[in-house]
Every structure is written in C-alpha cells, then in structure tokens.
C-alpha cells in the first residue's frame, strides 16, 4: 500500500451526490402529489396517505443508518477483512443519524393530522381511543408526548454511540494508537445491546402501532433483521459503485465481496426465518387479536404481494447467493444487492399499507395496490435520494479506508485465498 495514499472519495461521488438530491426532490414532490391525489381518490384521506407513504421512506432510510451502526459494532467485535474494508461505508451511514432525526419531524407532525375520522396512527385519535377498551389500556404507552420522547431517546442513544465509534475511528487514522482498536471493540458489545433494545421499541412505535390492536413478540426482530439487511445491501451497492473508480478499484478484493455476499445470504435467510415464524404461529393459532394482520394481507390481490415477497425477498436471492462465483463478482453481487433494496421497500409497503383499514373498515382490495405502491415507492425514492445526498456528503469527509488500522495493509492485499 502506498503509505501516502489517502483513499479519498472519487469525484464521481460528488457528481452523483448532486444527481441524488435532484432525483430525490423530484420523486419527493411526485410522491406527495401522488399520495394526496390517490389517497383522496381511494378515500383514505389525502394528507394521511401522504404521511403513510412518507413513513415508508423514513423507516427505510433510518433503518439503513441504524442497521449500519449494528454492522459497524459487529465488525469491531469480530474483526476480519470484510469489517475493515466496509467500515468507512457503514460509518458514513451512521453519521446520517442527525439527518434521520430531521426526517423524523414529519412523522411527529403526522400525529396531529386527522382527516375525516382517519389518522395515520389510529391511537392518536382521542375519539377512537375513548370508545375502545384496548386502546385505552395502551394509552400509557401509546400517547403523543411519550411517543415523541421515546423517538428522541432512540435517536440520542444511536447518535451518542455512533459518534463515539466515528470519533475513535478518525482518531485512529491520525494517531494509529493501538488502544483505540480495543476501545472500539469493547464499546461494541454495548452498542449491539442498546441498538437491539431501542430498535425493537422503535419498531413497535413506528411500525407495529400502525395497527394498534395487533401485537407480535417477534416484530422487533423482524424489523431489526430487515434494517440489517437494508444496510448491508446498501453498503454492498456503494462498494460495487466505488470499485469502478480510483482509488478503490485496487482496494476491494473478490474475497471482501465474497464475505459480504455470505453475510447477505445469512441475513436473507434470517429475515425469512423471523417472518415465517410470525406467519406460521399466527396462522396456526388463528386468534381474533392476531390473525387480522394476515387477513388484511391475504385477500383482495394482496396475497400476490405476499407471494412475491416469498419469491423475490427470499427464494430468488437465496438461490442466487448460493453461487460462490456470484458472490465474488461485484457486478453480479450488485444486482442481488439492488434487488434486496427494492424488495425491502416492497416489504415495507406490505407491512405498512394495509394499516389503512386497521380500524376494521372495508376489506383491502386490488385497487389499493396501485394507490399504495405508487406513492410509497415514489416517496421511498424521494426520501432515499435526499438521504443519499447527505450520505455521499458524509462519505467525502473521510478516507474510504481506516488508514490507522494496523491490519489494513493485509486486509486489502490481493491476498492468497485461504479456502
């Protein structure tokens, strides 16, 4: 390795940064307009639908940031070349957390938006809560001030821990102090613990409480593994992009992609395992509080969405990622990673959209596919584009590899294969 090489972000990042912002803004505007029009037309409240669609984008981007924090600490704990070479990409994603807090503001606003008896979160509607024993019972937890306070606490915890890891990692670049490695490793156990707990409750708050009568003990794990999956697929995509440009074309080795591909396969399986556990146990129990969640999602055309998730969120990537060759070739691995990012949004739509009728109104139908998928994808691209602009900005601020890490040279050497 050239000792003076700084591994700064290529100019392409700056170029794509601007494009991401522009595309993001376009999609965001289109998403707002589409959500409002289609939402009003479908009769679930234009503004409410704007916020519901926005939630998909917020949840997706924040998920990448929080998932990256988990990967970052996992990497510090286990060590290995895959962790070193992806560290800066994950770190940059964790530095978007303050931006995600800004993205959280519209979610807070949504708590106050009621339109013709409809709200994004049913429990924010005082009239509904008053007439519903279960919602009254949950009020000590599901109420606006506590929801906001909890949200701020999650972000504060994530930001605090991400900041420590980022600071020490930057310090390592300049000083090369070997004790920093130990410090990062020691704090990582705590990070995993805190992220596990906060992300679980964030999932309960932002996702599960969209259908406030429904509950599932595994929901936190489903969301957590989904966030981990999005973060990994995102970082793989970024790495395959950077690989086309100086200076990273020499740094990333097939071995790194191979390891990331293996981790991606693991996460694909883990997510399917959690999601299937929830489905099988709910379906077999068939209890009135639990089964409506799947009844809403297995009728009126939505069963096709569920089937598509089984096929393209699990079966196809599983089959593709079994191939050793595909994992080692960045251009082929990238296609799987992009598929996973797409399917993550797809899956979020499946999870969030049917909450429109959580109040128990008319059944969800095929028409609702269009009125949900179109604005939600547009909004995910919109929020995602703007988030990407911020992410690329963060990526430019530091070397793309942890220069002070003593194992770096060995990790990026075109090493002899060890298996």
């Amino acid at each position: 390795m050239d000792a003076t090489h700084r591994y700064t972000a290529p100019d392409a990042v700056a170029r794509y940064r601007g494009r991401a912002l522009l595309a993001g803004a376009d999609f965001l505007v289109a998403g707002v307009v589409l959500a409002y029009t289609l939402g009003s037309y479908a009769g679930y409240g234009g503004f409410v639908q704007v916020f519901r669609s926005y939630l998909v984008g917020f949840f997706f981007c924040t998920g990448i940031a929080v998932g990256s924090l988990a990967w970052l600490s996992l990497g510090h704990m286990t060590g290995g070349a895959w962790a070193l070479t992806s560290r800066r990409l994950f770190e940059a994603a964790t530095r978007t957390l303050p931006f995600c807090l800004v993205l959280f503001i519209p979610v807070v606003v949504s708590l106050f938006v009621h339109e013709g008896g409809r709200s994004l979160y049913e429990w924010t509607d005082a009239a509904r809560v008053a007439g519903d024993e279960a919602l009254k019972h949950k009020q000590p937890y599901l109420n606006i001030p506590f929801f906001v306070v909890r949200g701020v606490i999650y972000f504060a915890a994530w930001f605090f821990l991400a900041n420590l890891l980022n600071r020490w990692s930057a310090e390592q670049d300049t000083t090369g102090d070997p004790r920093l490695r130990r410090k990062m490793q020691d704090i990582s156990g705590v990070v995993i613990l805190v992220v596990g707990l906060t992300a679980t409750f964030a999932a309960f708050d932002w996702g599960m409480s969209l259908e406030p009568h429904w509950f599932s003990t595994i929901y936190g794990l489903i969301v957590l593994s989904g966030w981990g999956l999005s973060a990994l697929a995102f970082v793989i995509t970024v790495a395959t992009f950077l690989r086309h440009h100086e200076p990273m074309n020499d740094a990333y080795q097939p071995l790194h992609f191979h390891d990331w591909g293996k981790l991606l396969l693991t996460l694909v399986m883990l997510y399917a395992y959690f999601a299937f556990s929830q489905f099988l146990i709910t379906w077999a129990g068939n209890l009135p509080e639990e089964i409506p969640f799947y009844l809403r999602r297995l009728h009126g055309g939505w069963q096709a969405v569920g089937l598509a998730i089984i096929l393209f969120h699990f079966a196809l990537p599983f089959a593709l990622l079994l191939s050793r060759q595909r994992k080692r070739e960045p251009s082929r691995l990238r296609r799987v990673a992009i598929l996973m990012l797409f399917m993550r949004v797809f899956d979020l739509v499946f999870f969030f959209a049917p909450s429109v009728h959580a109040g128990g109104e008319a059944e969800f139908g095929a028409r609702d596919l269009l009125t949900n998928f179109v604005p939600m994808f547009s909004m995910a691209l919109g929020v995602g584009g703007i988030w990407l602009w911020y992410y690329f900005g963060q990526l430019q601020t530091r070397p793309l590899l942890p220069l002070g890490a003593p194992e770096l040279e060995e990790a990026i050497a075109a090493a002899a294969e060890h298996h």
Binding site: L193, F215, T217, S277, L280, A411
Partner: protein
C-alpha cells in the same frame, strides 16, 4: 489463518492465536491424546466417576421398568398439567446438544480455529444428550413399544400420523438430528481410530480399532474424499442447529395457551438451546482439562470464547423474556396479562425469579474481564445457566398450564419421586456415556490438532 481476532493482543497481530500452547510437535500431540486411550492404567478417579454414574443409570433403568409396568401415572403430570418433567427434560437435553452441532458445523464453516480441540468432545455431548432427550417423549407415549406408530409407514390400521401436528415434525426433526450428528461424529473419528489402531499395543485393541477405522490408510485419496464428506456433513448439520429447536418451540407456540403461543418462540428457543449447550460445554471441559492435563490443547482462549458465546446467547434469551413481558401487557389481552402476572407473583413466582437470577443476572458477570479469565468463575456461571435453562422450561411448560382460561380447571403441579429418579437418572446415564467415551475414544481430534502445531504452518513462510 486467522490473524485479527485475538482481542487481548493489540500489538502482535501476526501471531497465531493461542489455540494450542507453544512447544508442541506432531508427535507430542499424537502421543498426548492417544495416551489417554491406550495407556494401561486407568486412573482411580475415572473408576469412581464411572461407578457413581452407573448407579444413577441403574436408577433410571429401574424407573423405566417400573414405569413401563405401571404406566405414566407414576409421574406427577395429570390434569390440568399434562406436560411437565417429561417435556421439560426433553427440551433441556435437546437444547444442550445444540452447542455440539454449532461448534462442529457452524464454527467449521466460519473457519474458527478455536473449535478444533473441543469439537469432538462437544459432538459426543450432543449425541449423549439427544439419547437422553429421546427417552422422555418415547416413554411419555405410555406404550413405547408402539412408538413406531409415529412414523408414516403403510399399515393395516388405515391411519396416518397427523402431519399438521408439530409433535409429528418433532419425530422427524429429532431423528434426523440424531442420525446426522452420529454420522458427523463418527466420520470425524475415522482418521483418529486408524491412529489408535496403529499405536495400540494389544491385539484386541488393534482388531477393534482396526474394524472401527473402516480400512483407513491415510492415503491422499482418502483425505481428499474425507474433506469433501466432512464439509458436506457440516453443511447438512448447519440448518439443524436452527431447525430442531425451532420445531421444538412449535410444540408449544402452535397451541393457543398463553405463555406458549407467541411468535418469538423459535429464535428464542434456538438462542436458549445454544446458551444451555455452551454452559454444559464449560461445565464439562473445565474439570476435564484439569484432571487430564489437557490445558495445552483446551486453552484459556477456548474457555473465554465459550463464555462470550454464552453471554451473547444469554442476552438474546433475556431479550425474549423482555419482549414476552412487554407484549403481554401491550396485548390488552387479560389472559396474556394474567399469565405474566402469575409468573411474577403466582404460586411458582420463586422459580420465575430464580430463573431470572440464573439466566439473566448472574451471567452478566461475564462482561467483567476477570470473570471471563477465571475458570472457577466461568464454571460457577455455567452451573447457574444449567439450572436456569432447566427452570426456563419449567416456567414455560407446567406454569402456563396450571392456570388456564377457566379458574374452575386450575390446579397445582408437583413432581413425584419418580420424576426426579428419571431426571437424575438420565444425568447419570449422560455421564456414564461420557466416562466411557473419555476412556475409549480420543476426546480431542488428534489429526486436526496436528494441523495447529507450528510444523503445520510452514507453508505460510514459504
């Protein structure tokens, strides 16, 4: 070769992690491990241990005879608690087996070299634990001689097993698990059995080890095929680590009893199984390495890593408890809430809080470096976890059953003396098999340990 993963070594990053103490050669490794089997004099302590476990084994056999002649009414389970010690012990033993499979299969695929000296031992533990586990549902059928009815075979009765029942899936899961574990273990043993054959001094030893080693000559072709088979078996075993305990959890979660029916059960059971398994690994290897002087092969690093795995899986289990408790309240379902309240302050509250102490509070000590490095402390924590994981199944199974939806059908559960003789009998049986294994087969994989010594690393320098 792993280079980055010794957390206690900040400067010398190119040093091979201490999975074997320095100074060993191919010969010394072979001598030391095979001597445990081939030596003439058997240590007195071994005889004492074997005798004690043999007594307990006979207690189990006596219980089984009495049970078969009398019926399962000799146990304490009855309405409303139809499942108790039999299923608790089944789940407990099956769980313990999981660490063996994780160590031998998953850690192999993850290229974790520290697994090498403990895999043989852990796999044996898996087999013996599965044997103990299998006894319980078999006897709980009441007529174990008709247990083959559980299999779907063409029969004149015109009936088939209920394929929608997870109990049925359990039959397939556990029998697959037992088969694959046995194959994996034996395949790994073959090269070492040949070593013993070549080194045995008695004719009897040469003949027996010769037959068991299946004609192994150690030729390059043998090794090439061996490597492929071993890797394939590892691949087949890997999903079993997840699937077996997932299906065990379905035994409960598919039902609609509060305390049983909850979607987090599959991952929570799997984590609990690995947790219990690593606790049992530590319980066994800490004394073993001491009494047999195996400190060179089973190093501090092994114990530390096993401790860390125990801590991590223990935290997952704690997460399960937290999620269950929170959702019980959040569900606004009075049966769910009552179930949780009954655990907290009901007649068996003492056991619930003991469970929390053993499984959640005490293991947090492993965060402390000094505890991780102290063998005595690790052993003590592991014992707490052994007890805690048994209590966990006790809390889930009888405590959820004893007070169900209808107060008029409530009841209390108490085990009988035969529940205990059966349970402790299987512990004796487990140790009986363990003692025989330690005496007659190499407890550490000789040929894999040979790859750990510096002589084997020469190609790195070339």
């Amino acid at each position: 070769m792993e280079r980055f993963d010794d957390p206690y070594d900040d400067t010398r990053i190119h040093v091979t992690p201490a999975v074997i103490e320095p100074g060993h050669t191919f010969d010394s490794v072979t001598d030391k491990i095979s001597a445990l089997v081939l030596r003439k004099r058997t240590p007195l302590g071994w005889w004492v241990g074997l005798a004690a476990s043999f007594v307990l084994t006979n207690m189990m056999l006596g219980t089984i005879i009495y049970l078969v002649f009398t019926g399962i009414g000799i146990w304490g389970n009855n309405q409303p608690v139809g499942w108790a010690f039999d299923i608790i012990n089944f789940v407990w033993w099956i769980g313990i087996g999981h660490a063996g499979t994780l160590i031998s299969a998953i850690l192999l695929l993850l290229r974790q070299q520290w697994r090498t000296s403990i895999n043989r031992f852990a796999e044996a533990m898996t087999l013996f634990a599965v044997a103990c586990a299998g006894l319980f549902p078999l006897l709980h059928t009441g007529r174990p001689w008709l247990a083959y009815w559980l299999f779907p075979y063409p029969n004149t009765m015109g009936i088939q097993p209920q394929f929608r029942s997870p109990l049925m899936w359990d039959v397939f899961a556990v029998s697959t698990y037992a088969t694959v574990s046995a194959l994996f273990w034996y395949t790994g043993l073959v090269p070492d059995l040949a070593t013993l054959r070549d080194r045995a001094r008695s004719k009897f030893g040469r003949v027996v080890f010769g037959m068991m080693s299946l004609g192994w000559r150690g030729s390059a072709r043998h090794w090439a095929r061996y490597e492929v088979v071993y890797l394939l078996l590892a691949g087949i075993s890997t999903p079993l680590v997840l699937s077996v305990h997932t299906i065990v959890s379905f035994d409960f979660a598919i039902g609609i009893i509060p305390g049983w029916h909850t979607p987090i059960f599959p991952p929570y059971f799997v984590a609990g199984a690995i947790y219990a398994g690593f606790a049992m690994v530590l319980t066994l290897i800490i004394p073993l390495r001491k009494f047999y002087g195996l400190e060179d092969f089973i190093t501090d690093r092994h114990l530390r890593n096993a401790g860390k795995v125990m801590l991590a899986t223990g935290l997952l289990v704690a997460y399960g408890y937290m999620s269950e408790a929170f959702i019980a309240w959040y569900s606004a379902n009075k049966y769910e809430q009552f179930m949780m309240l009954n655990r907290f302050v009901g007649p068996y509250a003492f056991y619930y809080w003991s469970l929390i102490t053993c499984n959640v509070i005490v293991p947090q000590l492993i965060w402390i470096r000094r505890v991780r490095h102290s063998h005595v402390m690790l052993f003590v924590v592991a014992m707490f976890v052994n007890v805690g994981m048994w209590l966990e199944r006790f809390i889930i199974i009888p405590i959820s059953l004893h007070r169900d939806f209808l107060p008029s059908s409530w009841g209390m559960y108490a085990p009988t003396i035969f529940d205990f003789t059966m349970f402790f009998g299987t512990i004796g049986f487990f140790f009986f098999l363990m003692f025989l294994f330690i005496r007659f087969l190499p407890v550490i994989s000789i040929f894999e340990m040979r790859t750990m010594v510096p002589e084997a690393q020469i190609k790195e320098e070339a």
